[in-house]
């Protein structure tokens, strides 16, 4: 135990009345910053592979944590979500400030973009009002210099009253100095004397009045002046908290004061920028030159209404090319040789065991593991592409050019890319919605993603349609895709109207500077996302596939007389409205495990194998109208288990997951019946 632990954070803690620091405690450091300031690069450089990724309790916000050691001390580094401010607008902002207030980190490192110094310091202005020592990492000084800016870190440090470390994180410059400064602040070697912004003189009195009204009623550990300031800003969460803490009469008094100053929000923000202006005027010796940057030159094309769309289409073309030329062959390879080989091995090893055990292991367990494994190549490609586009700064441009179109469905421009990539596979589409900041827009995108016809669904169409429609099969396939997209657009409008009551997240976002991708950051992201899929979705997929397999063999041992078939027969009246018999219904049900299963099931139930003969048997057994209805329903039916698993993983709510399934079931059934009757009407 090093002696320096005894006086960890002395000056500050005493001043703030923090609980005594125990000897064994690791030094807790929080990493804060606005989006696009290079936070993940710094986090990765400091923590390397010691990272642990999870979620903030009760939130869909990702929580990253890691450790690093310096001079014999271990530091626990918690990556706070990237936020522009600390007002309760989003889950991210609430998570970030609650962590600082409740967990009281020993040091908060806040990264600042030197090239956007003025705007970046806004978060610093908010952080200085909170009770935790702040160290500023002045990142991207190289970019600032390129733009002709010259900043004096020492002057900025003196003006802010907190240490400022100049950095170029992408070149690993200054990161060591940053951790050393953290160490010296945590140990008390550097005295902490912040000079936080004061409220503008015209609101000083109001603030004091609010403080007087709520003093003694502010719950621990919230600082009185901070709560008063947030009340004045009209902060949702703090307002709710104080309404619960104050007596009705006292709340009325506070409320009257607030109502009389409902312009305070903008005044407080303006006050912060005035304070920032003074800091910037002191520290910046040479302002930005008016030259046209590379980003501006690139954006003349990338955000142009026509060229921007063409560039986006080109990028999507490359992604799909990659998926088909690399992803699919790998997927087939894994399925045939690895999963198939594993199944053969298991079957041979269990040759003497009872048939049910062999079936459970080979068809239930290995089948489930197989579907997790075979998804990996496509997921890896998708995560890498999304990571690269996001890291380079392109994602915001794609959202910008697509916003008008997505807006019609109540969606955000950022919903476009995940949804579009759903044509390849719905699983990454759902996982890709993480780029959407607004919770509502993100949820809506997740709910709609299963309506995008994925490759596996199209394969079923390609298998069955020719037998029913001959040369018109291509036309029918395109018609079905258009139908699915029309249903998606309609559902978007409908869900948005009925459930979200037409509310839409404001379209206002930063277009970050373009820069070369950081491979380390992207590599770690791909690794973490993949592991999360295997860990979370994988378990669910494995469990449910074993259950469905059991239903398909019990009690008799074959599908025809199984519980699953009984369910199919029970549902037959609903299917008969579009001419489906129980066998087609069972095929739909088994497609839940994996879409391609429905062909295998039909093969068993019609005794025709899986060859082209099966499609012909179907075409002679059922009229084309039923064939069309079956295909339409297949397109819109509840997605495969893997998609459901990630819907659950990403919404973190069984309620929304089940709602989504029920919604898709209803929509696909209504559409199936509609298609059937329409087809009969035109005499198919």
């Amino acid at each position: 135990m090093s002696p320096r632990f005894f006086n960890a954070v002395p000056a500050v803690d005493e001043a703030l009345d923090l609980p005594a620091v125990t000897e064994e405690r690791m030094v807790l450091v929080a990493l804060a910053g606005q989006p696009n300031v290079g936070k993940s690069t710094v986090f990765n450089l400091l923590t390397g592979l010691s990272q642990h990724v999870g979620n903030w309790p009760g939130k869909t916000v990702e929580r990253k944590e890691g450790t690093f050691t310096l001079n014999g001390t271990t530091y626990r580094l918690v990556d706070l979500p990237g936020t522009y401010s600390l007002t309760a607008n989003s889950a991210e902002e609430i998570v970030a400030r609650e962590f600082i207030i409740r967990e009281r980190p020993d040091v908060v490192v806040v990264l600042v973009d030197a090239a956007i110094l003025e705007r970046s310091l806004y978060l610093v202005a908010e952080l200085l009002s909170l009770p935790a020592p702040v160290v500023v990492g002045l990142n991207m000084i190289d970019v600032a210099r390129q733009e002709g800016m010259e900043i004096e870190p020492e002057v900025l440090a003196a003006a802010l009253g907190v240490p400022v470390v100049p950095m170029i994180a992408t070149k690993n410059v200054g990161v060591r100095e940053l951790s050393e400064t953290v160490d010296r602040v945590a140990s008390g070697e550097i005295p902490y004397t912040p000079k936080p912004p004061q409220i503008r003189a015209d609101h000083q009195e109001v603030l004091e009045e609010i403080e007087r009204l709520i003093v003694g009623c502010v719950p621990d550990p919230y600082p009185l002046d901070w709560v008063a300031l947030k009340l004045l800003e009209g902060d949702r969460e703090v307002t709710r908290m104080m309404r619960g803490c104050l007596s009705d009469e006292r709340w009325e008094e506070v409320h009257d004061v607030l109502r009389a100053h409902d312009d305070a929000l903008v005044a407080v923000a303006s006050g912060r920028y005035e304070w920032i202006g003074r800091m910037v005027r002191a520290a910046v010796t040479r302002p930005k030159a008016g030259q046209i940057s590379l980003t501006e030159r690139l954006d003349r094309w990338a955000t142009h209404p026509l060229w921007g769309l063409l560039i986006l289409a080109g990028i999507l073309g490359v992604v799909f090319g990659l998926t088909y030329t690399v992803g699919w062959p790998l997927m087939v390879f894994l399925d045939t040789y690895v999963v198939g080989g594993l199944a053969d091995l298991a079957r041979a090893a269990l040759a003497g065991a009872p048939a049910w055990l062999s079936g459970l292991v080979v068809d239930g367990a290995i089948g489930g593991v197989g579907s997790v494994l075979t998804f990996m190549p496509i997921l890896l490609i998708f995560f890498a592409v999304m990571g690269i586009l996001e890291d380079m700064g392109y994602m915001a441009r794609a959202a910008y050019v697509m916003d008008g179109f997505m807006h019609m469905m109540g969606l955000h421009g950022k919903s476009f890319l995940p949804l579009f990539l759903g044509f390849g596979c719905n699983v990454p589409a759902v996982l890709g919605t993480r780029v959407i900041e607004s919770r509502r827009a993100r949820l809506l995108t997740i709910l709609l993603a299963p309506l995008i016809p994925c490759t596996a669904r199209m394969a079923i169409v390609a298998f069955i349609a020719p037998a029913f429609f001959g040369s018109a099969a291509t036309l029918v396939s395109w018609g079905l895709v258009l139908l699915a997209l029309a249903v998606l657009a309609l559902s978007g409008v409908l869900i948005n109207k009925l459930i979200f009551r037409g509310q839409r997240a404001a379209f206002i976002m930063e277009l970050p500077l373009y820069h070369l991708p950081n491979w380390r950051t992207i590599g770690l992201l791909v690794w973490q996302r993949s592991m999360e899929f295997v860990r979370k979705a994988g378990t669910l997929i494995l469990g449910v596939s074993v259950v469905v397999w059991t239903l398909s063999v019990l009690p008799g041992g074959d599908v025809e007389h199984s519980y699953l078939a009984a369910i199919g027969r029970w549902l037959e009246p609903a299917g008969r409205l579009m001419g489906l018999d129980w066998r087609l219904i069972v095929a739909l049900l088994t497609s839940f495990i994996a879409k391609e299963n429905s062909i295998a099931t039909l093969g068993v139930l019609f005794g025709a194998g899986e060859g082209p003969g099966l499609a012909d048997v179907l075409a002679t057994t059922f009229p084309p109208s039923t064939g069309l209805a079956f295909l339409a329903m297949q397109m819109l039916f509840i997605p495969c288990l893997a998609t459901v698993a990630v819907i659950r993983q990403e919404t973190r709510s069984w309620g929304w997951t089940l709602f989504n399934l029920a919604f898709l079931l209803l929509v696909s059934w209504v559409t199936g019946v509609g298609v059937f009757w329409l087809a009969n009407l035109v005499g198919l």
Partner: protein, 99 residues
């Protein structure tokens, strides 16, 4: 209007928030390359907060980078490039400044 929030009361920061103000225009009406100073903001608390945290407050200098007359536009404010929808841009009142 696309951003009207039903829960937040609409608040205005400037009493002179009207398009008829001879000196000031909505951000959406500015041509590419034009510069100006923000004089007023309108919108629900959520939007105002977001605009403020991205740099739009009264007194902030803005330069319009791209505006095709329809669809979203791009403006530079406090050193950052911000894309915003036309509806959002109509909530920002700007006084033109000669280039």
């Amino acid at each position: 209007m696309r951003n009207r929030s039903k829960t937040d009361p609409a608040v205005q920061s400037s009493p002179s928030m009207s398009a008829s103000d001879s000196q000031s225009v909505f951000l959406s009406a500015m041509r590419p390359g034009e510069r100006g100073v923000v004089v007023g903001l309108a919108g629900g608390r959520g939007l105002l907060c977001r605009m403020a945290s991205l740099g739009f407050t009264p007194g902030a200098e803005v330069t319009v980078m791209q505006n095709f007359g329809r669809g979203p536009l791009i403006a530079r404010v406090r050193g950052a490039r911000i894309a915003l929808g036309r509806g959002e841009a109509r909530k920002i009142q700007v006084r033109r400044r000669s280039p």
